[in-house]
Symmetry: C2
Subunit: 251 residues, 2 copies
């Protein structure tokens, strides 16, 4: 009976990390409520992956929220005038905040998850941030998550019962990947049966026609570039597990 399970909200981008987090939350026994965002990304192929992953994981509900972070610009992921940086090496990743950083993105995403958690009376929110093998974004750090959790418990009815002044069931921001390498994340996901061919990480994909997709027998219309930070980290993670990344890359 799904109703007897405790509900948890899971941020699901359609990427490798959030797909793994969804599998972890499900394995832990939660009824999973997945939330994805169309936030003005230049490409939205990740939404198609999020839908496929949510369906495969048999989530209790999946919602896609439309928000427009491009209204302020300032990131290469949402601002068409800025180019995504490319490289052949992971060596330069993480030394400074890159232009692919989207201002306050995780703060915004967690805030929507918090609102939904409150309506669902869910005390757990899962997010796939990790502080290793990432791109140097400030809103992926453990101290950010701790501060967010503290704020969330003051922001909501769940955190404090305002009538009785009693502290209610606290809201927890669960970050099971926070101290894992990309290789460790992939290893755990494979053990939990995550189909990584349905995930998508690239910051700058090439879109192909439906016809070409069918000729190449692919499930989605985007090919990963193989050279942005996200592709480089992902490819290394699979390589360290001694297996090929099942995602489709530009030949």
């Amino acid at each position: 009976m799904a109703q007897s399970k405790s509900p948890a909200v899971v941020l699901l981008s359609g990427g490798l990390d959030s797909a793994t987090v969804l599998a972890i939350a499900k394995q832990a026994g939660y009824a999973t409520y997945a939330i994805s965002f169309r936030y003005g990304q230049k490409h939205s192929g990740e939404i198609a992956r999020a839908r496929a992953l949510a369906e495969a994981a048999n989530v209790a509900q999946h919602i896609v929220v439309d928000i427009d972070l491009s209204v302020f610009g300032g990131s290469a992921l949402t601002d068409k005038s800025l180019a995504v940086p490319k490289s052949d090496s992971v060596d330069n990743i993480g030394s400074e905040i890159p232009i692919t950083y989207v201002p306050a993105r995780n703060t915004v995403f967690l805030s929507f998850a918090l609102g939904w958690a409150e309506v669902l009376q869910a005390n757990n929110i899962f997010i796939g941030v990790n502080s290793l093998d990432y791109s140097g974004y400030p809103d992926c750090r453990p101290e950010f998550i701790q501060a967010y959790e503290k704020m969330a418990n003051l922001a909501t009815k769940a955190g404090v019962d305002y009538t009785s002044k009693q502290v209610g069931q606290p809201i927890r921001i669960q970050t099971p990947l926070i101290s894992m390498t990309k290789a460790e994340i992939i290893k755990q996901g494979l053990q939990l049966g995550v189909d990584y061919s349905k995930t998508f990480s690239c910051y700058d994909p090439v879109t192909i026609s439906d016809e070409q997709r069918d000729i190449d027998r692919l499930a989605f219309n985007e090919l990963a570039c193989g050279h942005c930070d996200a592709c480089l980290l992902r490819l290394r993670g699979f390589e360290q597990n001694g297996i090929a990344d099942p995602a489709a890359y530009v030949p």
Copy 2:
């Protein structure tokens, strides 16, 4: 020269409080960047007020962000199946969290403001919360604001320079109304020249036709109900200042 002024983001709902906060931020010498939200409210007359107020205050920029908080339901302000409670007295306000509470609304709004502040390199965000004469919402409490500010400084590039590990110019959440009564807010706003006929507070207005609006010589299409929490608090505030509320009410 507007460019030499320090930028500040101001949350502008079109209500009495945020209109006053905008005037305070302007008076303090900031270049004001006003942000409003269409968040799935049942009525959106407040956006028309926000535009009129932003124009009257000669803001540097005003953006209206579309987000859909109604996707989770759970509030009488966004869920059409829930009715707004009415009363003839303010005596019952604040004793428990009312159904007009929108889950995580201020958290979501502040998070968008934070993203814009980061792009603008603004260190100040103004919000018109107050902990007196309000409707008992948890996300209006001083301890929530303090926790939000701490989180915001960990979430962003502004808070910490990630390359040098130096702490940057901190982000401040400015809440000039936090310990003022509604009567005090109105008094200060009148001193600063706020035109309260352009503000709108009602949770459950009556919409009139353009024709009726013109016959009645009104600037907007919504009449305040006069009996929801927001109307009751506002009317008392004007009464305590010994003047009539210039907003249009249902006769």
